[in-house]
């Protein structure tokens, strides 16, 4: 799959929408057409085999069917998010378009430097946008830490013709830089405060470029790159990401338990707890861990567009179902994702990671069930529009479909058997 049509569609449609939609005051919901156009472009160019660009380019990061499938899913997820969001302003639309283009290029490029530059540009734009939307210490921290984390990935780039990185200091340095960049991008402890603090100030379409575009691309590409590192670099990545992921998931689960009735703080905590598990999974090349993290990512791509929004009247039913899909009770997709991740971790490191992962999984069940109950108890007298209701139901139904057919979903969308 060539990346150009999809990236250009993201960029050009985002720019056009940013220029034109502010003039059409009552038609700003048409912003959802930006990711929808990119989804159509991704669908049209989705084919079998590997990405031509990636194969032709040197270095690691050879992505093919999985990258194209993820580009399609991200665009669809962003479409649903924009249908459910309050109408975005031109700055938000532009950031979404550019971040979509950058995440697509990051998924397809064969150059580790270009890959990292995509994340720097994306995180910088996102940080600037957050600061402009809500100037505060938390959003400034997001601009600082998010951009710095991506810059660390850029620093790893020149050390990453991975075949040559067999000299120990170089392999360790590259691995350490990659792990640091991934930790900052995922919002892990101790550099992850920007996500929870920022999520209190910006929601919906403002938070979505990170959660639905940049984050999935970072996850998928980090998996590939991590597998392509030499042994020294891989052990450094594992040495950093395993404890940091365990700490993050434990801390996020604890915070999620103490959220109480503040619904808006709940989803970022659950997302961060799952990201902690995913980071732990990145520490091992076990295929089970990889499949588990991909299923968790798919789950959040499905429910994220709905749960990233403020709870709004008229959408209590879909929210309740989305929380249930996140609960981790079989056969929800979160169950398969967490189970496969744990199985991969046990295969890679023995039983020790279970000391963290089982309590975290238990805590997440409690948090999500409480959230589902809270969503059900809100007044639901108001009626949302047909398109909004359809989009809101689409999110949890898609998640449940992933839970019922996890193998098929991974094969159909990401080309994994």
């Amino acid at each position: 799959m060539s990346v150009l049509p999809v990236a250009l569609t993201w960029g050009v449609s985002g720019l056009l929408a940013a220029l034109l939609l502010p003039r059409l005051r009552h038609r700003r919901r048409l912003a959802a057409l930006v990711p929808l156009a990119a989804a159509v472009a991704a669908l049209l160019t989705l084919g079998g085999g590997a990405d031509l660009d990636a194969v032709a380019a040197p270095g690691g990061l050879l992505l093919g069917r999985a990258g194209g499938g993820l580009a399609l899913l991200c665009a669809l997820s962003m479409t649903v998010c924009l249908v459910l969001s309050p109408p975005p302003d031109s700055g938000e639309i532009l950031v979404i378009g550019v971040c979509g283009a950058l995440s697509t290029v990051a998924l397809a490029t064969g150059s580790p430097l270009v890959w990292a530059v995509c994340f720097v540009a994306g995180m910088t734009l996102l940080g600037v946008r957050w600061v402009a939307a809500a100037p505060a210490r938390a959003t400034l921290a997001a601009a600082r830490v998010g951009t710095l984390g991506a810059s660390v990935l850029v620093a790893a780039g020149p050390f990453l013709p991975v075949d040559a990185a067999t000299v120990l200091p170089r392999a360790h340095l590259a691995g350490g830089l990659l792990a640091g960049g991934v930790a900052a991008g995922f919002g892990l402890v101790p550099v992850g405060g920007w996500v929870t603090a920022g999520a209190r100030l910006v929601r919906g379409a403002a938070l979505a470029p990170w959660a639905l575009l940049l984050l999935p691309a970072l996850l998928l590409t980090s998996q590939t790159l991590q597998n392509a590192l030499p042994t020294g670099g891989r052990s450094t990545v594992g040495f950093i990401l395993l404890p940091v992921g365990a700490l993050s998931s434990g801390w996020a689960a604890l915070q999620g338990m103490s959220v109480g009735r503040r619904d808006r703080d709940r989803y970022p905590r659950v997302l961060l707890a799952d990201l902690g598990l995913v980071a732990m999974a990145l520490a091992t090349p076990e295929p089970g861990a990889r499949v588990g993290s991909l299923l968790l990512m798919l789950t959040h791509l499905c429910v994220g567009p709905l749960l990233l929004q403020e709870a709004s009247p008229g959408l209590a039913g879909p929210r309740r179902l989305a929380w249930l899909a996140l609960s981790g009770v079989p056969p929800t997709p979160a169950f398969w994702g967490r189970f496969a991740t744990m199985a991969g971790l046990v295969a890679g490191f023995g039983g020790a990671p279970l000391i963290v992962t089982i309590p975290v999984a238990g805590a997440l069940i409690l948090i999500t069930l409480r959230a589902a109950a809270a969503a059900g108890s809100t007044a639901d007298a108001a009626r949302a529009g047909v398109a909004t209701r359809a989009a809101a139901w689409m999110a949890p139904v898609a998640a449940l479909a992933v839970g019922l057919l996890p193998d098929w979903t991974l094969r159909a969308f990401l080309g994994l058997s």
Binding site: P58, S111, L113, V120, A136, A138, L140, A143, S151, G157
Partner: protein, 214 residues
């Protein structure tokens, strides 16, 4: 030809000092020019003149395009928003100001850049020459600028330095398609110059510190 290591390191050091200290509405332009000129000789020595020219050209483009973008956005329309040179959060009175903190952070980068340039092999460059020093120092000072950022201009200056430093390191590593990769990394500098300039023109004159709450 023998590499004049102290001269290359000295140029990198001067560039890093400018990247660390420069402030104000044109900070991104000055930081880009300094970073480009500071790392270009090292790249010219190892990769070749075309690499050095690329970095200088991109740095000059960033220096020009920032004010141009600002002038253009002034003509579009003024609207309330965050002026990129105004601190996002009000700082408390302290013994050391933001510049002092940046200098202290930049000083910590020096030994790290030196260690990397002498101990980590990169591409065809020998570990003895230490030619990576200038690029590593400029990247490190850009990263420190990001870490200690109080304004959007700080963020933009840091990203510009990071991009140019990474582009130089990529050229020194000398892989396949080195110029294309370096151009992608260096393009961060004009990109952030346009963004900072645009915001500066659109929101200039918002005098008060935006907000002090978390």
């Amino acid at each position: 030809m023998q590499v004049n290591e102290p001269l290359l390191a000295g140029l990198g050091f001067i560039a890093a000092v400018v990247v660390t200290l420069v402030d104000g509405r044109n900070a991104v332009s000055y930081a880009s020019i300094a970073a480009g000129l500071g790392v270009a000789p090292s790249v010219g020595e190892i990769y070749g003149a075309d690499g050095a020219l690329l970095l200088i050209a991109v740095a000059l483009l960033a220096a020009l395009i920032g004010p141009l973008s600002r002038a253009l956005s002034r003509r579009v329309s003024w609207m309330a928003g965050v002026d990129p040179v105004v601190p996002v959060v009000a700082g408390r009175e302290a013994l050391f100001g933001p510049r002092s903190i940046r200098v202290a952070a930049g000083a910590a980068v020096l030994p790290a850049a030196s260690w990397v340039s002498f101990n980590v092999p990169l591409g065809s460059a020998s570990t003895v020459t230490g030619v990576l020093f200038a690029a590593a120092l400029v990247w490190g000072c850009g990263a420190m600028r990001l870490l200690t950022a109080r304004t959007l201009v700080d963020v933009a200056s840091g990203v510009a330095a990071v991009g140019l430093g990474a582009a130089a390191a990529w050229l020194i590593a000398g892989g396949v398609e080195a110029l294309a990769g370096a151009m992608a990394a260096a393009s961060l500098a004009p990109g952030v110059a346009i963004t900072a300039g645009w915001l500066g023109g659109r929101h200039a004159g918002v005098g008060a510190v935006a907000r002090t709450t978390t």
